[in-house]
């Protein structure tokens, strides 16, 4: 469902991606791991057009996004990116809820104004989503009145309200207190179990093992290894992956 071919990305003079290729099937769950600064976030952000790239193609379903080597893409480029964003939801490390809107308003804003769904229908769907994540009591709260875990669950509900075909998670639990990580991961787990095509960048290795169909290891802008969690965590083939994993495992023991 998502095809990345020969992706090149520069940050100024820094050539981060030097021709990445990756294909993701419908319903597949892919977890991205790798050292800090290796390009996991940038990769996800290229897929929904939050970062422009200089060369290559990204297809999402039947929509083709070609390299956009300009600060200001043209009308057609902007529209292509928007159509992709309507198909692919994204959840951020910092939640990014809209602080001036209630939980309900956060969730119904885009369905109402970007999809043109009526307010009553949008609100009804929002309440259904909130029930699923056990937050229906918070419909009229403002984000600052919620815990970090609750905020991130609302952010997930907000993305799901657009009925996406795939979901991108960029370190969804990294800014949470440890006791709240579980509640967010279980919401993601539920989603995965329902068959949602899911891409997750994370440092939660146990979670990666549990949900991933495939693990992709990034290092310095390269995909150095892909495989099932089994293959990657017990028997990594490349030296770089071994070094990264041993460092991660040591950290989790300490």
């Amino acid at each position: 469902m998502i095809k990345v071919r020969n992706l090149h990305k520069y940050y100024g003079g820094h050539h981060l991606f030097k021709g990445i290729n990756l294909e993701i099937e419908k319903g597949e769950v892919v977890v991205f791991i790798g050292p800090s600064g290796s390009g996991k976030s940038t990769f996800l952000r290229c897929i929904n057009g939050l970062e422009y790239f200089q060369k290559g193609e990204i297809d999402v379903g039947d929509i083709e996004l070609h390299s956009i080597n300009r600060l200001m893409p043209d009308k057609k480029g902007i529209e292509t990116i928007r159509r992709i964003r309507l198909k692919v939801g994204m959840v951020f490390q910092q939640f990014n809820l809209f602080p001036h809107m209630t939980v309900l308003e956060n969730i119904i804003e885009a369905p109402q104004r970007a999809l043109g769904i009526g307010r009553d229908k949008a609100a009804e769907d929002a309440v259904t989503l909130l029930k699923r994540i056990n937050l229906e009591k918070k419909v009229n709260s403002y984000p600052e009145e919620l815990s970090g875990g609750e905020q991130q669950r609302v952010a997930i509900a907000r993305a799901l309200a657009m009925k996406p075909e795939a979901m991108l998670f960029d370190e969804p639990t990294s800014s949470l207190d440890p006791e709240m990580v579980g509640e967010v991961l279980s919401v993601i787990k539920e989603l995965v179990d329902e068959g949602m095509t899911t891409l997750i960048a994370t440092h939660e290795m146990d979670f990666a093992k549990e949900v991933a169909d495939r693990v992709v290891v990034f290092d310095k802008g390269d995909i150095i290894e892909t495989g099932t969690p089994e293959e990657i965590f017990t028997n990594p083939k490349t030296e770089r992956a071994k070094i990264f994993l041993s460092r991660i495992l040591k950290r989790s023991i300490m």
Binding site: G89, F92, Q94, F98, P99, H100, E109, A110, A114, Y142
Partner: protein, 497 residues
């Protein structure tokens, strides 16, 4: 938020209606225009004071003075009513040139420089310059004793030219005729040279001052008329000559204590005395008599401030959005606008809008010019406040909105601006209060708002202190509720977060 926007657009609508109703220059000769209009518009500066044109101390909403009497006599002869048009004295001539009124009459001396720009009627008064010194002064006996001394006068007058031509005199230029005499009495000046009517009204009753020598520099006051209104000038001359012959002029001058031997050179003698309103009387008038005038000025101040601020808020928003999100060259244009408006004085901008634009065929009424001048200036500052507010919204907000499939403009409107407004609000209300006070600058374009009303009244009555306190109180009464309201609004917005 929505109601505020609705209110703003209503006010903007009103501005547009104002622009629509700017009186367009009707064609035809000046005389035809006056007859059609039913009144003669004559320009003068009531702040210039007695005995020329000044508010009646007994009823400050009414103007009196010998020039008021003359204007009424001319209007009567034309079969219309006279209507005074308030204008700063310094800019009477440019205002006349741009067609703000039919004639300017306010102790304007006939000089070759002025004759290059306008035409003058036959003289209606022969003025002389009177030197005034402190009572105990013994050294200065005439203008030639002024070398090395400090002498005050009004800007742009013949007296100024005389002082300059003596050489070695330290000439201090004033824009009002009261202040030089005050400074003289206080010892800040050694002498004041001004037209005799002014000296007679302001200096003669003052026990600390005395005349030094006899009047010098005879010259003529004339009525200034636009260069192309030749027919109107002839008609004015005819009427002036008639008033001279019938002795009506002399009556007027005697009423104002301005008659002297010099005038006899021009007028026949017919005796009949009228009442003369002296300085003492205006000093005694109870304060409440000034209130209607001051309140009217306050009303105009409010009107100007509110409409200008509404314009500034809307235009500022457009500028900020163009500067941040506009494609070239729109973003560069918005940046240029903001920098130019912030980098030049408001006073200059007002002058250009009011006196400059008529040169390219755009003639705005004073009120419209005030709205636009202040509004366009403050828009630049509001734009920068919004820009700072927009930049203070975390980047993740825009990314989250975009990732939900919202277009950039929708994201700006629904997600970024509401948060940016909240951040900018304290600055915007601050600016509103500042604009309230800056609105006094529009008196340079012939708007009589609160500060101008004050200076006109104070110049006539010399009651700077009491009137000043009242005016300060009025300003405070207007701006304090505004800050209270702003604080409430801020609180309300920060609760709803």
């Amino acid at each position: 938020m929505k109601t505020i926007l609705r209110l703003l657009s209503l006010i903007l609508g009103l501005i547009i209606i104002f622009l629509w109703t700017v009186p367009s220059q009707t064609s035809g000769t000046a005389l035809e225009k006056i007859k059609k209009r039913g009144h003669l518009l004559w320009g003068s500066d009531a702040e210039g004071g007695a005995p020329y044109v000044f508010p009646d101390p007994k009823d400050p909403s009414r103007l009196i003075g010998f020039e008021v009497d003359i204007a009424e006599a001319i209007a009567r002869e034309l079969g219309v009513k006279a209507k005074q048009s308030q204008n700063a004295w310094d800019s009477l001539i440019p205002a006349l040139e741009r067609g703000d009124f039919d004639m300017a009459m306010n102790g304007i001396e006939i000089t070759p420089q002025r004759e290059a720009k306008v035409i003058f009627s036959i003289p209606y008064y022969i003025y002389t310059e009177q030197l005034v010194v402190r009572k105990e002064e013994t050294f200065i006996k005439d203008i030639y004793g002024l070398k090395g001394k400090k002498a005050g006068t009004l800007s742009g007058t013949v007296a100024q030219d005389i002082l300059m031509s003596i050489g070695g005199v330290d000439v201090k230029i004033y824009s009002g005729q009261v202040e030089p005499y005050e400074d003289l009495a206080l010892g800040r000046l050694d002498a004041v040279l001004l037209d005799l009517p002014i000296a007679a009204y302001y200096a003669k009753p003052n026990p600390k001052l005395k005349y030094a020598g006899s009047p010098v520099g005879e010259g003529f006051y004339g009525i200034a008329i636009k260069k192309d209104d030749k027919e109107f000038k002839q008609e004015t001359d005819r009427i002036l000559a008639k008033l001279l012959r019938t002795g009506e002029f002399k009556k007027i001058y005697e009423k104002w204590n301005m008659w002297n031997e010099t005038q006899a050179k021009l007028f026949e003698t017919i005796k009949d005395s009228g009442s003369y309103v002296g300085l003492d009387e205006s000093k005694k008038a109870p304060l409440y008599t000034f209130l209607p005038n001051l309140l009217k000025g306050a009303g105009i101040t409010i009107l100007i401030s509110v409409v200008s601020m509404a314009l500034a808020i809307i235009l500022g928003l457009v500028l900020a959005i163009l500067r941040l999100y506009g494609r070239p060259p729109l973003n560069a244009l918005a940046t240029a606008y903001i920098e130019i408006y912030r980098g030049t004085p408001l006073l200059i901008q007002l002058y250009i809008i009011y006196y400059g634009l008529p040169n390219i065929g755009i003639s705005l009424s004073p009120l419209t010019a005030a709205f636009i001048g202040l509004g366009m200036n403050y828009a630049a500052y509001e734009a920068e406040l919004y820009r700072a507010g927009i930049n203070a919204v975390p980047k993740g907000q825009m990314e989250a909105a975009l990732s939900l499939g919202m277009t950039q403009s929708l994201a700006v409107k629904r997600i970024i601006l509401p948060q940016a407004f909240r951040i900018a609000l304290p600055g915007v209300t601050n600016d509103f209060i500042a604009l309230f006070k800056d609105s006094s600058l529009v008196s340079v374009i012939a708007m009589v708002e609160l500060t101008k009303t004050y200076s006109i009244l104070a110049a006539t009555t010399l009651r700077f202190f009491e009137l000043g306190l009242i005016v300060a109180l009025l300003y405070f009464a207007m701006s304090y509720p505004l800050s209270l309201f702003a604080r409430r609004l801020e609180k309300k917005l920060s609760n709803k977060k």
